[in-house]
Symmetry: C2
Subunit: 377 residues, 2 copies
């Protein structure tokens, strides 16, 4: 037995859906078949008009809310946002979390067995884009008889995935919540991703991505990638107030062991991640970030790119987020307004940096709640 919030989803379990229709990807590769693992919270109403798809970020997955019966400490990554009475209220909505294609938590990805070879895909798994994911979201909705999502919601890469569906299948979604995201990565964003990838690609244990058959894992590289990622998820201020220059053992040792608490924290985060996540999936997810650029086919004109969108939008940014700063969100808002789309925008005061979108914050949650409450089902 374990204690839980009265407004928690409670025990949930993941399910799996198989797709046999070949999927043509943006890279021109074709997947003959694939599986998606997902969770749902709440009930799909008879009109099938109350479905909300939640898209995950770089290292997220389908386990968005609730806990598992056999692992009650494994709480979904957005459990503070989703549940009965929570901002995304599961008494009203049927909420779906999907592990994206290419993931390493159950959906078909590099660690999956390639039926053509009987071995893991590894480096043969094609690179996927947010457009490919949008296709899979539509097929997933078809499977459930959902003609139109009430909303698609996501933070960071999840926000980009949500925007992509609104662009690629405008008739399939009524509301889009884009949180702590960007219409395209800047050179600096791509640069950070590049360093993370190079850490993995140049790890001697990477073996060209076929480390499964070598019995290795590019743990060093993945650890470095995650450590670097973490710095960019936090703000300078939040790191200063949480760690400052605090020493781990009270005095300097004048060697290369951990001396500052911030080092200890980063190593812990890096080690934990390297033990749990797949390096090929990490590489692929950073590429999906780099590739997202809806304005690319419109000479960089984001307003032109959004001309095909029909949904209403909620766009949220956080003042301390320097990975995807409020300026990036305002670019999205401008493009939406240029197309006379309904958009609610808020720049939320926060010290937690990019990670703010995952945090419990009353003002943030009230904004989401107000928006969700107004969605008709």
């Amino acid at each position: 037995m374990f204690m839980q919030d009265s407004d928690s989803i409670g025990i949930v379990s993941a399910r799996r859906v198989h797709f046999d229709t070949p999927l043509s990807l943006k890279s021109r590769a074709v997947l003959d078949s694939y599986e998606l693992v997902y969770e749902t919270y709440g009930e799909l109403n008879p009109e099938r008009s109350n479905a909300i798809l939640v898209c995950h970020a770089l290292s997220g997955n389908h386990h968005v809310a609730g806990v598992y019966a056999d692992n009650p400490k494994n709480t979904g990554w957005w459990n503070n946002m989703i549940g009965p009475g929570k901002p995304i209220d599961t008494r009203k909505f049927f909420v779906i979390g999907i592990n994206n294609l290419g993931g390493c938590h159950g959906s078909t990805g590099p660690i999956s067995i390639n039926n053509r070879t009987g071995k893991r895909y590894g480096p043969d798994f094609p690179l996927v884009t947010t457009s490919d994911w949008a296709k899979t979201y539509v097929r997933f909705a078809d499977q459930f008889g959902i003609d139109c999502f009430a909303a698609i919601i996501g933070g960071s890469l999840g926000g980009m995935s949500a925007m992509q569906l609104a662009l690629d299948a405008p008739e399939r979604v009524r509301h889009v919540a884009v949180i702590a995201a960007s219409a395209r990565l800047t050179a600096q964003n791509i640069a950070f991703n590049d360093v993370a990838r190079q850490a993995i690609l140049t790890d001697p244990d990477f073996h060209g991505g076929d480390y499964y058959s070598h019995g290795t894992h590019p743990r060093r590289g993945l650890r470095l990638a995650r450590m670097l990622g973490h710095i960019t998820y936090l703000s300078d201020d939040s790191m200063a107030s949480k760690f400052g220059r605090e020493l781990r053992n009270g005095s300097l040792a004048f060697n290369y062991d951990v001396e500052f608490q911030i080092e200890s924290y980063l190593h812990y985060q890096g080690d934990k991640f390297a033990d749990l996540f797949d390096a090929n999936t990490y590489l692929l997810m950073t590429k999906a970030l780099d590739y997202f650029d809806p304005a690319q086919d419109y000479d960089g004109n984001l307003s032109a790119a959004f001309a095909r969108a029909q949904a209403d939008f909620l766009v949220l940014s956080f003042t301390s987020d320097w990975r995807f700063s409020p300026e990036r969100s305002r670019e999205i808002v401008k493009a939406l307004l240029d197309n006379k789309l309904n958009v609610s925008y808020a720049e939320i005061p926060s010290t937690y940096g990019h990670d703010s979108f995952l945090m419990q914050d009353d003002y943030y949650h009230q904004l989401v709640r107000a928006y969700m409450d107004n969605i008709s089902i």
Copy 2:
């Protein structure tokens, strides 16, 4: 023959000075003897009152201005600042560049032969601090009969080294120019250094720092460290305007080869650096950065720490520098003013990020020129 500016120093050459008096370091290690390699530009006046010491940053060295006869393309790293008629005018000043103790360009450091063992120091070379360097600067001045430097000047880590001398030997310097520096690294700064160090320390070719005897060099790690460093030296805006999302080959390849120009640039910088610099020195220099914290012995009170300073100060920051932001410089200025010291401060509009201190910029150079012109010799 080669062309050069009329105001260039012209051909210079490095010299070497040997110190036989044991040097007690902050780490409590003692170096029995050591050498420093240095260059000088201009003439020491009979009163020995016109000497300026230039301190280098993380990967810099003693080659500050001019070129080498046998390598006319190897221009000193601050050649735009120092020379006849330049902001630091060698017709007035005797300018000295030193490679810091622990360096890899000629001064005693990890790649030097340890006389006790007949082998390279490697991991046995002690970690050094800005306070240790300040001691070496004083001894260096003694060697030249310089009782008091007219000025000590540096950017980034060099600015910290300059501040340290003003604190540790206040009677030995009249003016201090602190450019793009900080009174202490933030948790975020330390975190970036930590990732860089972990990249090197976990490189299988590192061999606990004794890679010399293994015939290897932790090239992968050093390359990653430099790539990451480069991102933090540039501003988001300068990367956007220089590289943006420009593709290297016009279209996406959907693989892990270089796709964006920014990746190509970073790889080039990382490769070049990994071929030229020593990994142990890189580690050591990042630690010198982390350790610099004059307020540490004063309960974090920087004003109390600066009570012993006597020099006049020029403090300069750059608006786009997010590694050592103007806010960090203003902390230094406040501490100086609290002690009623003379300080000139300017926040220079710039888009080049931390690297701005190395750039040719008229306003910046005019400020330095005006300050230097006013120094009496």
